[in-house]
């Protein structure tokens, strides 16, 4: 009901504001691609931006728009080396990258898709996310990604409800150096100190979290 109301309001705003054009562009690319090498985002990320857990395609709905723009930019360089996304990002103009980012950003965040019921694993992940593991100089995830991992600005993305498979994959990409676009190499530093078991646990915990409305 709430979401329904919101989308009515959004539709009104969209039809009245100068953002409408950018949103049209964003929607077109998400649904159909740009016809110049960037296929429709929705094929992998879904029309509602929910992503796909099995394939580790991230949820994009509700993420910070500047954060997503930066990722698209970094996919065009070696800083975020990804065989699927790199060619797509290279095929997008700057204007198109901005449009798809803001299109996904204003979507309501879907409820967590996975309901992992491995309680000890979730509890271990919760401890790490809330308290860190200071014996190994790992701060709590929430210290930088915000209470409940709702995200803080353009540099610290929301993690609540993100697919466990994707979080796990990214932490491993930082460890291996495949991903190196994190500001100040903060995540490279933290992920080096995480154990395999900690990565599994914290990813499962974060995936189960619901985003709380700001």
């Amino acid at each position: 009901m709430l979401i329904h109301n919101k989308s009515i309001v959004l539709t009104i705003i969209m039809t009245l504001s100068p953002m409408a054009l950018a949103d049209d562009l964003g929607q077109t690319i998400v649904m159909q691609g740009n016809g110049k090498g960037a296929m429709a985002c929705s094929i992998c990320h879904g029309a509602s931006g929910a992503g796909q857990a099995q394939a580790a395609f991230p949820k994009l709905a509700g993420l910070d728009p500047e954060y997503m723009q930066k990722q698209l930019e970094d996919f065009t360089t070696a800083k975020r080396n990804n065989p699927v996304m790199s060619p797509i990002a290279k095929a997008l103009t700057k204007e198109e990258a901005v449009a798809v980012s803001s299109y996904f950003a204003q979507m309501p965040t879907p409820a967590p898709a996975s309901a992992n019921v491995d309680e000890p694993l979730i509890q271990a992940g919760k401890r790490l996310a809330e308290e860190g593991n200071w014996a190994n100089d790992i701060p709590s995830c929430f210290a930088c990604h915000g209470t409940n991992a709702n995200g803080i600005g353009a540099n610290f993305p929301a993690l609540a409800g993100q697919h466990a498979s994707y979080i796990e994959q990214q932490l491993n990409a930082w460890r291996s150096g495949q991903r190196s676009n994190d500001p100040n190499q903060l995540m490279a530093s933290v992920s080096q100190r995480l154990s395999e078991a900690e990565i599994k646990a914290v990813s499962a915990f974060l995936a189960n979290l619901s985003v709380t409305e700001h």
């Binding site: 701060p139 930088c144 933290v190």
Partner: protein, 322 residues
């Protein structure tokens, strides 16, 4: 209140011989016992945030008990309340706290982390005699001092439930620690004197590259939904000119071992000194012991490495901001 401050000024100027000071203090003590407000001011002044001695070398072996083992009785309730005050000190905002900080911003991991002035390193070392104020300082006074300076507030009085809960939390974290024996990991590490004198301008570069992403371009921190996710480092919402952290050497040791968060010990010593100088070259709330004259206050209380009463960008530091 006024009388006490005037007397303090006299005492602190240290022109009187020690004997007289003691007599005066005895007389003062009698007067002070009769009034709660006066005893608060007295206690605050007793803690000068004196620099801690270096911790002994060696690996950190002490561990505090697990939170899950806090007993379910009145003692446990006090421990839990103390922990909650320590990590969310903002619940005392306006009452005892005058800035946007929490104790745990500087005493990392709820006061447990070695080399971040852990509470288990502190509690067993009090009461302690301090030559600087010729007084035996208790843990209560040390904590009250942190309220006066680090929290830029008014300390909770002796015997208040807040102070008692905080002391109880310090005590509980120290379970099993030897009394009167300094442990490795106490305080913040002391860095060697840097090859080059700490430089504010080099520090600014270090700051923009390593700190601004969280603490903001102007050191004001980052707020989310009305709470500080990343605390302010200078300006009206940070620690004041009397806090231990305003000393460049103390800040350098803290930063080296604890910042950037998640990347401890990643800066070189020189970078830590430089960024500490940059951070502490900015204005912050006035030293509560300020007697109306910056130079005099500096002479009495700031004979250490700091920017109080120094010129930075042609402006005198130590004027305070509200």
């Amino acid at each position: 209140m006024l009388v006490v401050f005037m007397l303090h000024t006299k005492i602190n100027i240290k022109v009187m011989p020690k004997l007289n000071l003691r007599v005066l203090r005895l007389q003062l003590g009698a007067v002070l016992l009769s009034s709660l407000t006066l005893s608060q001011a007295f206690a605050a002044d007793k803690d000068y945030q004196v620099e801690l001695p270096a911790a002994p070398e060696g690996s950190v072996t002490f561990t505090s008990p697990n939170e899950a083992d806090i007993p379910n009785n009145a003692f446990g309730d006090a421990v839990r309340y103390g922990q909650s005050l320590f990590t969310n000190t903002q619940q005392l905002r306006g009452k005892y706290v005058g800035n946007e900080l929490n104790c745990s911003n500087c005493h990392i991991n709820k006061g447990r982390k070695a080399n971040a002035a852990p509470l288990w390193g502190a509690f067993p070392m009090y009461p302690a005699y301090r030559k600087k104020n010729d007084h035996v300082n208790t843990i209560d006074e040390r904590i009250q001092g942190c309220f006066t300076y680090s929290m830029n507030g008014t300390p909770p009085p002796f015997g208040s439930k807040e102070l008692t809960a905080l002391v109880t939390y310090h005590y509980w974290l120290s379970t099993g620690a030897p009394v009167g024996q300094a442990l490795p990991g106490r305080g913040y590490p002391k860095l060697d004197t840097p090859a080059e004198a700490p430089s504010v301008s080099r520090g600014e570069v270090v700051y923009q590259d390593n700190c601004a992403i969280c603490h903001g371009d102007n050191g004001a921190g980052t707020q989310v939904d009305g709470h500080y996710a990343f605390p302010p480092l200078w300006g009206k919402d940070s620690f004041n000119w009397g806090a231990g952290m305003h000393r460049v050497n103390t800040a350098a040791g803290f930063i080296k071992a604890n910042m950037p968060l998640g990347k401890p010990n990643s800066l070189t010593d020189q970078q830590a000194w430089d960024v500490a100088a940059f951070m502490n070259s900015h204005e912050r709330p006035q030293d509560p012991r300020y007697n109306g004259n910056i130079a005099q206050t500096a002479e009495t209380f700031h004979k250490h490495q700091c920017f109080y009463n120094k010129e930075v960008d042609n402006e005198l530091r130590g004027q305070g901001v509200k």
